[in-house]
């Protein structure tokens, strides 16, 4: 088996892929023996089997679609913004597309810095930005059929706290 960090493009800071990601390998590659790093913060988004309280176990699969080219460029721009706002040393984003099952990882955002505060904030910033501005769309399959997931106003509100008006939902 080829280790995830040996896959083509595995060194890039933004990747869109169908394959599952290995969190430990990604975090290791982010730090890459850099002695300046004192903190690595990460967020992993996973597929839930429910999209609302009381809808237990209703989601069978989650299909993710993206806009090849634009999606990568828009996330690169978000990572550039994070470097401009925060005192961070490294960042990487891995986002999956295709059909996923509940419990599978969808997205990984990881940031390194000298001290924890900056990487905590930058990780949240990138994730809030990504939820409202990166071209990804989710389609859930439930026993009642398949439907596209609506954007949430709360995601726009999460971005607004960084002083950025999203107006996505």
């Amino acid at each position: 088996m080829v280790a995830p960090n040996m896959l083509p493009g595995a060194g890039a800071r933004v990747r869109i892929q169908e394959a599952a990601f290995d969190v430990a390998a990604e975090l290791g590659a982010l730090q890459a023996g850099d002695p300046r790093v004192g903190a690595v913060c990460s967020f992993v988004g996973t597929v839930r089997d429910r999209n609302a309280p009381g809808a237990a176990g209703s989601v069978q699969t989650l299909e993710l679609e993206h806009y090849p080219g634009m999606t990568e460029k828009s996330i690169e721009a978000m990572v550039d913004s994070a470097f401009a706002r925060f005192d961070i040393l490294g960042a990487r984003v891995v986002h999956r597309v295709g059909v996923l099952q509940p419990t599978e990882g969808v997205v990984l955002v990881a940031v390194s810095s000298a001290h924890r505060g900056q990487s905590f904030q930058a990780c949240e910033f990138i994730m809030d930005y990504l939820k409202t501005q990166a071209p990804f769309w989710k389609k859930e399959t439930t026993p009642e059929g398949a439907h596209w997931v609506d954007a949430r106003v709360s995601d726009d509100e999460a971005l607004a706290r960084w002083g950025i008006a999203a107006r996505n939902a």
Binding site: G45, L64, E65, H66, Y67, G69, M70, K73, S74, H95, V106, V107, M127, L130, K131, T132, Q133, A134, P135, F136, W137, K138, K139, W148, V149, D150, A151, R152, N168, A169
Partner: protein
């Protein structure tokens, strides 16, 4: 002018295609959207002014008043839900 129009997610399904090349008299994204609505059909409903439609010009999120140019790539899609 000639432009390439791409559709994603529910918009793609409503239009029945992921992309098309159009000769258009429109000079802005809003005008192009109006032209597509005027064609009628399920696509017209999906692009309707009462719908939340996002637009990109050459793969950058753009506003309705932004100008088109020869050979540009336009995309219409619903609000994003990534992550």
């Amino acid at each position: 002018m000639r432009v390439t129009v791409r559709y994603f997610a529910s918009m793609r399904e409503a239009m029945g295609t992921s992309s098309e090349v159009l000769d258009t008299a429109a000079t802005t994204l809003a005008q192009l959207r109006a032209e597509l609505i005027a064609r009628g059909g399920s696509g017209a409903e999906a692009l309707g002014t009462d719908r939340s439609v996002r637009m990109a010009l050459n793969q950058v999120m753009s506003a309705p008043g932004d100008s088109l140019h020869e050979g540009c790539e336009v995309a219409f899609f619903p609000p994003v839900t990534g992550g």
